[in-house]
């Protein structure tokens, strides 16, 4: 019984972790928006060091040589792009009444929601006028709004203090469901000019470039490279194609899913062998019992029914408990990392272990029920 429970539960848990991870990461990457190019400061090798890109870029924000004029040049000189948006980052804290929170502040222009594939759930995003006047207005990420006001819908027109400057909340972004520091849920957005003033910045951390058509991406990449290289050194910026990241990551994910599937298959196999052994041993051990039952008048059919019933109760009962344990485990693990309970994993794990349990519970019983009572009784 324990064998069945463990076998079924571990398969369900492993598969749910694997598919959860996959859903999470692809969702996160697609949430960035489609046909997106990213210009980051410094020199990066995306195709080789995909996962390291984020870390390297973050490290070089402060030393970025990219400036607002570069964004303007890209906008004016490169064809085939929908939008190019410069983004500057600063770290500070936000305060409302007694609530205080450390956050990352994004300074950008009104095109940001389009490029990042997001929009305001309440209020409005700031306008070009706000940017040119360096207005003290802020758009909150949904998590930030929840933390400050208790819900992600209220708080418009409230006054918050960022650093030591008073801002008016004009909008709250819809929840994107991403994770970590890169999610706009945990960030606040102000006009780039306002950010510059307050934090005395003159560089830009990223340029997001949305390309009109997917097939133009190589061409646009080349053009952006040329335009930026006119002012910046080769090692002062890198252009990253979102698709490249996506495909690198999804390669890793495929391998991961395959590995987890392999582990799950092995644990199912091991569980199956365990169940098989337990059933074989326990039923074979009971050969004498079968002999006795036959001696006192049980027919082979009755014996077979008894053992079939026992095997079904054990396997199905164990399987159901395994499902409960597996699903409960997935939910528990889901508090820390995303898990997706996979119906197919449940069906396959339950089906295989129940079938193995029933087959190897009934098979030896069937053999024993055909022995003469004396042979079965003599069995050691």
């Amino acid at each position: 019984m324990l064998g069945v429970i463990i076998g079924v539960a571990s398969v369900i848990l492993l598969v749910s972790i694997g598919s959860g991870l996959r859903t999470l990461v692809t969702g996160e990457l697609q949430g960035l928006g489609s046909n997106l190019l990213l210009v980051v400061p410094g020199e990066l090798e995306v195709s080789r060091g995909g996962p390291a890109a984020g870390g390297g870029a973050l490290g070089s924000f402060t030393t970025s040589k990219i400036k607002e004029e570069d964004v303007q040049k890209v906008r004016q000189n490169v064809s085939g792009i929908v939008e190019a948006v410069g983004v500057a980052y600063a770290g500070s804290s936000i305060r409302f009444a007694d609530e205080r929170k450390s956050i990352q502040i994004i300074g950008t222009t009104p095109e940001f929601p389009d490029v990042r594939n997001t929009s305001v759930a309440a209020g409005v995003f700031f306008s070009t006028v706000d940017v040119s006047k360096a207005s003290r207005v802020v758009v909150l990420g949904s998590t930030v709004a929840e933390d400050l006001f208790g819900t992600s819908r209220e708080g418009i027109d409230s006054r918050v203090i960022i650093g030591d400057v008073r801002y008016t909340v004009i909008g709250i972004l819809e929840k994107t469901g991403g994770f970590g520091q890169t999610s706009v849920d945990d960030q606040v957005i102000v006009p780039i000019t306002t950010l510059r003033q307050q934090f005395n910045l003159d560089n830009i951390s990223f340029i997001y470039i949305q390309v009109e058509r997917a097939q133009d991406i190589p061409m646009v990449t080349r053009d952006v490279q040329t335009v930026l290289a006119a002012r910046l050194g080769e090692d002062e910026f890198t252009i990253i194609d979102q698709k490249e990241i996506l495909s690198t990551v999804s390669n890793i994910l495929n391998t991961l899913t395959l590995a987890l599937g392999g582990i799950a298959a092995i644990s199912l196999l091991v569980g199956g062998i365990g169940i098989m052994n337990i059933m074989l041993v326990s039923v074979t051990e009971r050969t004498r019992e079968i002999g006795l039952r036959k001696a006192v008048g049980a027919t082979p059919e009755v014996i077979l029914m008894q053992f079939l019933t026992e095997a079904v109760v054990l396997s199905v009962g164990g399987g159901i408990m395994g499902i409960l344990v597996g699903v409960a485990g997935s939910l528990l693990v889901g508090r820390f990392i995303t898990t997706t309970v996979n119906l197919w994993a449940i069906i396959v794990a339950f089906g295989v272990s129940a079938a193995v349990g029933i087959i190897f519970g009934v098979m030896p019983a069937r053999r024993a029920s055909r022995l003469s009572p004396i042979e079965a009784l003599r069995y050691e």
Binding site: R288, R293, V296, G297, A298, T299, P300, S372, P373, I374
Partner: protein
């Protein structure tokens, strides 16, 4: 009912052969035998003489290689395995040297086991099983697990189990083989009393003083009846 009334079990020219590797062993060699209702028969003989095989054939637990077995006038070679199981269930009771009780099962449930395979309603099962336990003096141990009982007590539970269906014949294969002399005396006493009540008893033993308690002694050697 006394010895001399009608024939219960008849063996006609029965032989049983086993193949062991290249050799064929004649466990029983052309044995003919009649057991009548109410008899108390002992089967003795040195080990390997075929006495257990004979008892198994008499008890319809095994079938002969050659010859016929007639139980209450019916040739059992014509019967299906299920039919044989039914006869064993209703008319025969077995007691084995190793007791063959189900461990981790109460004495009462062990005794009631044969009733599971008959058409007796559940209410009567307990009643009959308790009655059988009482007849072997173990009523107060009804709820004890089989493995908590002494050897003598276990064998008495086994006798109660053999009696619970009120069978015509009680077959015992070395019932005292694993017991001390005190328990042996108790078991033999129980068997004698059952015979007095008219039950046919067939006992396989190698202890001559137990064989002497029987009214009829059959001695086997090399698969043949020599007396």
């Amino acid at each position: 009912m006394r010895a001399g009334s009608k024939a219960l079990i008849e063996l006609v020219n029965v032989s049983k052969r086993y193949k062991v590797g290249e050799h064929t062993i004649n466990a029983l060699d052309n044995v003919s035998l009649t057991v009548k209702e109410g008899e108390f028969v002992s089967i003795t003989g040195p080990s390997g003489s075929g006495k257990s095989t004979l008892m198994h054939i008499i008890g319809l637990l095994d079938t002969p290689t050659v010859g016929s077995v007639i139980f209450e006038g019916e040739d059992i070679s014509q019967l299906t395995e299920s039919k044989l199981a039914q006869i064993r269930n209703k008319k025969l009771g077995f007691v084995f040297q190793q007791f063959n009780l189900l461990e981790r099962t109460t004495a009462l449930e062990n005794v009631a086991l044969p009733l599971l395979y008959s058409e007796i309603p559940e209410r009567e099962m307990n009643e009959q099983a308790l009655k059988a336990l009482q007849s072997v003096g173990l009523l107060e141990h009804a709820q004890h697990f089989a493995n908590q009982l002494s050897g003598g007590q276990q064998q008495r539970v086994a006798i109660a189990r053999a009696l619970v269906n009120n069978p015509k014949v009680l077959l015992a294969d070395e019932p005292t083989g694993n017991l001390d002399s005190q328990s042996t005396r108790e078991i033999v006493e129980i068997l004698k009393n059952l015979n007095k009540q008219g039950r046919t008893i067939i006992i396989v033993t190698h202890e001559s003083d137990i064989a002497r308690k029987a009214k009829r002694a059959i001695r086997l050697k090399d698969g043949k009846i020599i007396r």
